[in-house]
């Protein structure tokens, strides 16, 4: 009992100390929850700057890792304890659920005030991730519900030094899948490792499969498949799946790619152990930390068809939402306007090696980041399609591709399996 009293006493001291530390001024204080460990220090600096400018205290609170952050947001939403500003991790479907539950303030009117003054700052594709278009399948009124803080694209990178060693031109990465597969043979002959990526964490497989689906059959047909109008057993989809088989057979894949974790893939590429990597623009910061002298370039995944342009995933990297129930929402919006201003965005991009969401801040970024940002022209993302594929179908597709890579299943067999699950899910949805 004595022990418990001591304990209580200790915590009482804590709380007294904690309270006396803060000045209780009348200006509102904004609380922001985020999960971005690599940007926390820069956020804190910007918050201090904002306080000296306006007197409004902004506290960024970091809750990492992102998995736990995501659970915290959901728990807080259940208890109606969300902070003034927060980010949502998850799919568009989850975003929609948050909106429906009344947690998120619609920002369209702020964005469009003064002749779209705020809205025009952003890359349209970055904004699109936070936008619900008219007639979307989620049942949300059209509008903008979040503010992009940065953008990202997921592309391929190649090691220039190893390119030279293979007798290839380090300034001319492969454009077509044919060239790419030929390099695979060369890599095998030289005893090197080809492509590394986090394909053990399957979402990156989904990403590249989508890229090739867009390239081979075009956006409309991909969306038609999601809507259930085109089956996955369509020859075009089998072509998409076969690409993985071809790549495997050409020897372009590094050993163990199928169960690789993205962090190990990044180690391998940074230490010049692999010729290619499939990774997001965040990798610039990662490679810089591990090997500042690494010479590499960014490239689109080599295209498999000339019918449609190659597509890559890209858009808002991270976004902030304003709590609709917050009493400080006006102040919170003001802060976000400031945070996405040209100078602040340039500073954030420079300090953290990320791509700014404000298109006017692009001027001063390093060359490799500029290469990544050029990929925005080809960018697309499931969150801007207006329809979502069923999770079990995505899972079956990703697992199927893993099975193709290890030679366990044929592309045809995988297509049939995926289609079966698609039909089951559609039947289930109809029954509801």
């Amino acid at each position: 009992m004595l022990f418990k009293n001591v304990l209580l006493g200790v915590f009482f001291c804590f709380s007294v100390l904690g309270c006396s530390g803060q000045k209780c001024d009348l200006k509102p204080a904004i609380t922001i929850w985020h999960w971005m460990t690599d940007r926390d220090a820069t956020f804190q600096e910007l918050a201090e700057k904002y306080e000296t400018l306006t007197g409004v205290k902004v506290s960024f609170e970091l809750y990492a890792p992102s998995d736990a952050y995501s659970q915290k947001i959901r728990a807080a939403a259940q208890g109606i304890n969300l902070p003034d500003v927060f980010g949502i991790l998850g799919e568009k479907r989850d975003f929609a659920s948050f909106i429906k539950a009344g947690h998120i303030l619609e920002l369209t009117s702020y964005m469009e005030a003064n002749n779209n003054n705020w809205k025009n700052n952003f890359f349209p594709k970055a904004l699109a991730v936070n936008e619900f278009a008219p007639g979307n399948s989620y049942g949300i009124n059209p509008g903008i519900f979040g503010v992009p803080i940065d953008i990202m694209t997921i592309q391929m990178v190649y090691n220039k030094k190893l390119f030279s060693q293979l007798g290839l031109n380090p300034n001319r990465p492969p454009k077509t899948i044919k060239e790419f597969l030929e390099i695979g043979a060369k890599i095998q002959a030289a005893g090197m490792q080809g492509l590394v990526s986090g394909w053990g964490e399957v979402w990156m497989i989904d990403c590249i499969a989508n890229n090739y689906a867009f390239n081979i059959m075009g956006k409309d047909k991909v969306l038609a498949t999601i809507k259930g109008q085109v089956p996955y057993t369509d020859p075009d989809w089998i072509t998409v799946l076969s690409i993985f088989k071809q790549m495997k057979e050409s020897g372009i894949f590094a050993q163990g790619l199928v169960t690789m974790i993205n962090k190990s893939a990044e180690q391998l590429f940074a230490n010049e152990k692999a010729v290619f990597a499939f990774n997001g623009s965040w990798c610039v910061n990662v490679y810089k930390g591990m090997n500042p002298g690494l010479e590499y370039g960014a490239m689109l995944p080599p295209q498999a068809s000339e019918k449609y342009p190659m597509a890559i995933w890209g858009g808002a990297g991270s976004s902030f939402m304003v709590n609709a129930r917050s009493k400080n929402k006006e102040e919170a919006v003001k802060f976000l306007v400031w945070l996405t201003g040209q100078d602040q965005q340039a500073y954030l991009a420079q300090a953290t090696n990320n791509l700014p969401a404000n298109k006017n801040s692009l001027s001063k970024i390093p060359d490799i980041l500029a290469q990544f940002s050029r990929g925005m022209d080809y960018a697309t993302h499931p969150n801007i399609w207006g329809v979502s594929e069923f999770s079990p179908v995505i899972e079956a597709l990703d697992r199927g591709i893993q099975s193709i890579i290890i030679g366990e299943k044929t592309p045809e067999a995988v297509a049939i399996e995926v289609q079966k699950i698609k039909e089951r899910e559609m039947a289930k949805k109809k029954a509801r």
Binding site: F3, K4, L7, L8, V10, F11, F14, G18, W35, M36, T37, D38, D40, E61, L62, Y63, A64, P65, S66, A68, Y69, Q71, K72, R74, A75, A76, Q78, G79, N81, P83, K263, Q267, A270, N271, G280, W282, C283, N285, V286, G289, M290, N291, P292
Partner: protein
Amino acid sequence: MCGVKHVFYYKSKKIVVNTLIHLFLISVAITCLYPLLWMISSSLKTQDMIFKDISLIPNQFRLENYVLAWKEGGFGRNFFNSIIYTVSVVFGIVIISSMAAYAFSRLRFVGSKFLFIIFMAAMMIPIPGSFVALYVLLNKLHLRNTPIGYILCMINVGLSTSIFLLKTFFDKMPKELEDAARIDGCSKIGIWWHVALPLAKPVLAVVVVFNALAVWNEYILALIIFDNRKFMPLQVALQSFQGEFVTNYPLLMAGLTITALPIILVYLLMQKYIIKGVTQGAIVG
């Protein structure tokens, strides 16, 4: 002559057996030591050398990584919090679960078997949504964002397993000492405290180590129910070195080494009881 040979035979047989045992023990020990040494050596390297220089002895000892990890992780207060949480949860679990386990093992009352089965069942059903459930519950009890709420939740987490462990050992223990104490007029609480607990020292030490490790390494529940950094335990601070994209490996490894030390210390303290338990029990008798 014959006797000498005999002795010699036994001696050499013993040496062979002992060598084999040692070989086995050492080979297992090497695999156990390797990751620890790897972690420590990585904590002394720089970010760009960590995967380039794979030797266990870094060419340069960057001890400042530890200072940096301590400062950047804001370890000071979090470290203190973790110690408070661990000590109070382990203390709570040891008292509460040993009382319950003693009752299940020795005392007769209606529903004892049923209660024990319920505790065992609880040990086995993982609650996937328990974080959200606990959040809502603590919110209603006004215990969310309070250390007490967190401590109570963590006591509950370790309770079932500890009861199970303790009951197994109480069942095994001879009853004669307790009978003697009862005849001497000792109360039930007295017998539990003065006779049963000292006898159970080895398993109590296991319970302490088991729960200390669990509390010390917990961060998800803390992260979810605390909205204030000043309450956060050490592991939450540690997570910030392990970003979604960028991981600061040397600082992460330094932080992991710092966090592993207190647990190893607890184990060193406790394993004495695991070994000495018998002799002390004998003294009580």
